[in-house]
Amino acid sequence: MTLKTLTYIVVGLTFLLYIGIAVWARAGSTKEFYVAGGGINPIANGMATAADWMSAASFISMAGLIAFMGYGGSVFLMGWTGGYVLLAMLLAPYLRKFGKFTVPEFIGDRYYSKAARIVAVVCLIIASVTYVIGQMKGIGVAFSRFLEVDYDLGLSIGMAIVFFYAVMGGMKGITYTQIAQYCVLILAYTIPAIFISLNLTGNPIPQLGLGSTMAGTDVFLLDKLDAVVRDLGFAEYTTNARISLTNMFMYTMSLMIGTAGLPHVIIRFFTVPKVKDARSSAGWALVFIAILYTTAPSVAAMARLNLMSTIEPTAGEYMRYEQRPDWVRNWERTGLLEFTDKNNDGRIQYSADATVNELTKVDNDIMVLANPEIAGLPNWVIALVAAGGLAAALSTAAGLLLAISSAISHDLLKGVLKPDISEKQELMASRIAMAGAIAAAGYLGFNPPDFAAGTVALAFGLAASSIFPALMMGIFSKRMNKQGAIAGMLAGISVTLLYVFQHKGVMFIESTSFLGDLSPNWFFGIEPNAFGAIGAIVNFTVAFGISSMTSAPPQEVQDLVEHIRVPAGAGAALADH
């Protein structure tokens, strides 16, 4: 059977599974649509959260990024996992106790203000929409690369599948599909990693293989990698910091705070039955995430080493272009891998010196995608990697779309515009909002705006500088009032946006950047992607300043804060309008 047929079969089977789940898990009430009825087992919710969280970027791109950044890539590993500690201790249990459906709803009630709720809705929508564009592109690219269908057709098929289970099942359908998607993506990620680790080190556990000796020698894998990259003039793999340690510190902090403030992750903790389940569920989510995130650095280092030894099989002897292995030929055809024989010696030199280097293009994504071929694994593993990449993109897209549609139907429509609609009408409205969100995200996927590449910084920056501080102060400070919270959110967003725009251009149009994206112009050498933490500090400072000058919140709000701090007396998630 050809690889293409096999890929069609494996991807087709996973899609049938997702549709089957959609038919079985239909939502019959708003509670099922928004929070899956509030009865999800904490371990199951942990698994769904892991799939919700790990996007096409985590699955396909992260290991490749680390492979070329080495130690500097640690910002993603620590940043995208450490946020769960913040979630488990600072937000999730209290928001679960509060027991409503959405993040803006908490902000609106806690700060006794529709204006605060609307500011939160706007932050949520900007953060989630910018994030969803990347997922839509991921779906289109995965289809076109693995199934050789058009980008547009691939994206349409992906949208149709999400439409089916998200509109019918809401959070309930999405949760059960995400559990299935997690299983697909984790198998697809770990199987090739196990074989590569076995090949290189003889140790089947990639996490341990990374610290082992190369098979048949007593040289440690990481020492060998350091030596190989140093010889070619690159910075040492295990010590190469990203720009500076200060920058790494701020970048990691921004990603952690941003992760804890992303609404599509937070709302997953509204689906568990009890407050104590919200705590343990965050732990389970991190267990399932950690399986991939601790495998990724091994995949990264091993893939880099494999690439190096393909190009320079014995020291000083470079690969003859005519004798390049099959996997190199395959990926050359996709344009993600390019060689230019600059000195016409028929061999491919690899060097940090751009004038000598003949490996002119290596896309980060190859590091994960080509793994099964490099390890010589059977075709069904390659097919599984395709299904895994699609599962990662679809599950994250669905989670984001639910956060967007519930903010529209529950916070804007039911909360502000038409508070007197019935539950049945609201359920219908939430389905229409979901369909609209899918259509809008699809449109942005077909016509990715110029600023799409810079938007991840914006999503994390906004979540870190607006949503996270507002939620945390709402729980930990009884004195925080409406004026402080709103001023803090607006100040946090403004500072972050101003910094990102001044270096990356207004709305990421480069020509409008007034300071240029150059490190000498950066504030303390902090790159724009790492600025969310500064935005958060500004938010906290402004909020406490303004709040101390204005009157304390009313007694019933202070009672509400007392109420969410203790688990006793929580019902299942309710809307009590």
Partner: protein, 82 residues
């Protein structure tokens, strides 16, 4: 002090301990102290590099379960569990 106030104070103390560990293993061992720690080896790993790419994540997982476990006991002790 009233019961809810002592419960909340105990929770805050536990959170402070956990957040300190969270900070030390990631920002401390993985970033600020990475260079001196890299002088120490853990098998094939430089220790600072190991904390940055694996160790901190394992500690994060353990921390959340530790916190959940201690809070469950605290909820019982103050009989504020659901």
């Amino acid at each position: 002090m009233s019961k809810p106030t002592t419960y909340w104070a105990a929770n805050l103390r536990l959170v402070a301990v956990c957040m300190t560990i969270w900070f030390v293993v990631s920002f401390g061992f993985g970033i600020i102290l990475v260079e001196p720690l890299n002088e120490i080896r853990l098998g094939g790993f430089k220790l600072g590099f190991w904390f940055a790419q694996q160790g901190s994540i394992y500690v994060f997982v353990a921390l959340i379960f530790f916190y959940a476990f201690r809070m469950k006991k605290l909820d019982k002790q103050f009989s504020v569990e659901e």
